[in-house]
Amino acid sequence: MLRFIRNRLLMMIPIVLGISFIVLLLLEITPGDPAKMLLGTQATPERLAALRAQLGLDDPILVRFVNFLWQIVHGDFGTSFMTKRPVFEEMIMRMPYTLVLVGISLAVSVGLGIPLGVYAATHHNTWKDNGAMFISLFFVSMPVFWFALLLVRFFGVELRWLPLSGIDSWQSWILPIVATSLGFVATIARQTRSNMLEVIRQDYIVTAKAKGLPERKVIYRHALKNALIPIIMVIGNMFGLLIGGALITEVIFGIPGLGQYTIAGLTGRDYPVIQGSVFMLSVMFSLVILIVDVVFAIVDPRIRSQSGRKKHKDQKDGNKIEENTQKIEA
């Protein structure tokens, strides 16, 4: 148990180092000279040289990497070119908004998606099942930003029920959360349904039924528990996808979170902001995956027995392939 947690924690070190390195490389892939790009074509050579020195562009990459790590450890992500404010401070201020948006959206997706999937699976091949699945397919296939715009148009402009943008009261959160989570509700519902249908065919379900257990008990006690494992294992990954969604919903609904900050930094080519927020969001994401892993290691002895994330993650690939193995032979 402790060994699992220790190994899993140790895995965070290369991951955080890796993220930092990628974040540093982002500046490297800028076509041409980033300094020139920032100051425009009319910049004097002196100013260019000064900025290059400030960004540390002249140093070898390894030196820059070490410097960058040193700064991060001290919570120093530089100052934004545009606002001249320290990036770290700004990020800390904005973080709660993003966490609330992503956290509640995740809760809504799981809380609605799983019951919906169970409902569809228990009504397999009826119009209820087909209808629910067909509608959810639309939600899966729809661009989130487009749906968000339609929500604003309908509930904000047409009906005037909810505020258009900005965060003033709890009502302001409704539209962004609906927009962010609806696609994921559909995804989880579809996943739950197909897992349930798979599990229902298993022998132990037949046994449970043969014992004379009531249908309800068979479904919730035996089937659902087993069907949920693959879904719960990917909750951490869902968090990452939701962060991606939050980037856009924050912009559309004017939520002053990290996503909005990131997009603003990207459109303004504000490198400290880009580096800082990509780093922050990625570390947040890795931490959530870490927490999910540890929590489920405590709950599920099967995960605990495999020490370290490596085997655990590769195992996940294996599960996916197991389903596909027979396909290969077909």
């Binding site: 729809m142 661009p143 930003f145 969001l281 996916k320």
Partner: protein, 289 residues
């Protein structure tokens, strides 16, 4: 003789797949929609009643007239023509990005799975780190840093979705690696390259077919998002995501300008998903008979 045998077997496999796929009406519908979209994209100059940039100053924001069935935008450009032209960029993004991602991912996955040991270890750990950055975030960031253009958007989309294909391919190769026919290929002194290309990859591809089909859909979706934030196709070239962004400003008065391009995106992604679902079932031997 041998090649002849091989050919007939391949043919019957495809035939078998098609026979099972066509029982699934939704999958066939998806396939038809996709073929239609490809046709529309290729034949855009012939199908579109107007050029995508032709302005009609007398018909700014017209709605559903005989000349402009779906209306026009602020500059009087025909919405339907722009939607038809827009199919090009969207499909291009979807198809090329997936091709890049799948090609790179399959190569990495095949090498990692086949050689195992430290090669595999390094590949997988690098992918772990790669995947610890939320995909869409990485994608938008790369696209923004490379500079806004269709080409860069495609590169960004492709680069970001490599890990998924690589992981799936590796896992699939692991199941194929131990098969007898690999052993027999080795027995006749086939080189590693030959074994991978001739025996491993073709046999490990099946699970990736579904992934690739659905991948086209998710790339179209992500591509429209990139265009929406101004990182994809640049105006005046029409693309559905860009059109939604343009329509956004006049959402209040002229909602259809953003509505229709969104429906186009949704339909094409839906088609990919339906076809992918159908293929998954058709490839699943447990559902045979």
């Amino acid at each position: 003789m041998v090649t002849k045998l091989k050919k007939t077997r391949k043919k019957s496999k495809l035939k078998d797949l098609w026979r099972r796929l066509k029982k699934n009406r939704l999958a066939v519908a998806g396939l038809i929609v996709l073929i239609l979209l490809i046709f529309i994209a290729i034949a855009a100059p012939l199908l579109a009643p107007y050029s995508y940039s032709a302005q009609d100053s007398k018909a700014s924001y017209s709605t559903g007239t005989a000349e402009h069935p779906l209306g026009t935008d602020k500059l009087g450009r025909d919405l339907m023509s722009r939607l038809i032209w827009g199919a090009r960029a969207s499909l291009e993004m979807g198809a090329i990005a997936v091709a890049i991602a799948a090609a790179v991912g399959i190569t990495i996955g095949a090498i990692a799975g086949f050689f195992g040991g430290w090669t595999e270890n390094i590949c997988m750990r690098v992918l772990d780190i790669y995947q610890s950055i939320p995909m869409l975030l990485l994608c938008i960031t790369i696209a923004a840093i490379l500079g806004p253009s269709l080409q860069n958007a495609i590169i960004a989309l492709g680069v970001c979705s490599v890990p998924g294909y690589a992981r799936l391919m590796r896992a699939s190769v692991l199941t194929v690696r131990e098969k007898e026919y690999i052993e027999s290929a080795r027995a006749v002194n086939a080189g590693n390259a030959r074994i991978i290309l001739q025996h491993i990859v073709p046999n490990a591809m099946a699970p990736l077919i579904v992934e690739i089909t659905m991948g086209v859909g998710s790339m179209i979706l992500a591509g429209s998002l990139l265009s929406f934030v101004g990182l994809g196709v640049q105006p005046p070239t029409p693309e559905w995501g860009t059109m939604i962004a343009e329509g956004r400003n006049v959402m209040r008065e002229h909602a259809t300008l953003a509505l229709y391009p969104g429906i186009c995106v949704m339909l094409s992604v839906l088609a990919c998903n339906l076809l992918g679902d159908g293929l998954r079932d058709a490839l699943d031997p447990r559902l045979k008979n």
